[in-house]
Subunit: 183 residues, 2 copies
């Protein structure tokens, strides 16, 4: 809405755009304080700044990318990172022929250096693009080094401590979300 | 639960495993009929079969994959399709040096043949792994040929008729889901 030049919105309009009820919008926002006055709606710029702070996307998080296969290369080339809160800051691979090569504007580092580099730079976010059989051991190293949020492309469930969040990118789950509408 | 050898479950247990309330489980299921008797819980095998039918994941859908760059290659190699309701049946690319090559156990076809092949085979599902600037025109062709559900890896919003579903795979959105828990 901000990009469309709109200044003010309502829980009704937000709900319609998001496909949830206006009541749910008001309830969700109320968990975090006051965002607008009854009857006057929400100032979009204010709401956006506040939500950015609450969701911690008002800064740029350094991301460690592990595994430079097809997916790793695609992620490095992905055009969607700019201005959205994340920057790939470290890249690791276990293949000695890849180590030292440049991807994006970074040099691929040996996975042996991962724990030390992640810890030294205080990196808390990682993208896991390694084969399934290595995913858990790489995860263990990352978590020990201080990573608290992992985006996992490998088709395996990861076991992590309660303080660590994992999201899975699984094309089949996304396809399954839509199969109900096929015939 | 079935894989763990369990026979019966409850809305409470389902809710706990899914992170939603037991009441929501019962309400959601009630939209589709009777799944268990009050007090006796749900027969897991029965529930699984019924849900598979409702969600239309009790059959195998042929999928057309468009774009054999990094992502396309990774998707073809992805080990998570087997037994989960989808099978890549057609692969297309616009690059003449790729056409005729084999990926997985399929031959990459020229994108010019896409409309005809998709229509002839009655394919309703597509995965879009093309660069952003081509995503909308490829989508238009797919939709005209009968595709009704599209998984889009390109970082662009697609415009489709109301009867067509689109899911986006966007790593940044997945990362943003977790940033609230960072500090």
């Amino acid at each position: 809405m901000a990009n469309e030049g709109q200044k003010v919105t309502s829980s009704k309009e937000l709900g319609e755009r998001l496909g949830i009820s206006a009541a749910q919008i008001r309830k969700d926002l109320s968990h975090f304080g006051e965002f607008g006055k009854q009857g006057t709606g929400y100032q979009i710029a204010f709401l956006r700044t506040k939500l950015g702070k609450i969701l911690r996307v008002d800064r740029e998080w350094a991301v460690a990318l592990v595994g430079m296969g097809d997916i790793g290369h695609a992620v490095v080339r992905y055009q969607g990172f700019a201005g959205r809160g994340f920057r790939i800051a470290l890249i690791f691979d276990s293949d000695p022929t890849k180590v030292g090569q440049v991807a994006g504007d970074m040099t691929i580092m040996a996975v042996d250096r991962m724990a030390k580099e992640v810890k030294a730079r205080g990196v808390q976010v990682a993208m896991l693009c390694v084969p399934g059989q290595h995913a858990q051991s790489v995860t263990n190293t990352l978590v020990d080094a201080g990573v608290r949020s992992i985006l996992n492309y490998a088709p395996v469930n990861l076991s992590v401590p309660a303080a660590v969040r994992v999201q899975y990118i699984d094309p089949v789950i996304e396809l399954q979300r839509m199969s109900y509408f096929l015939h």
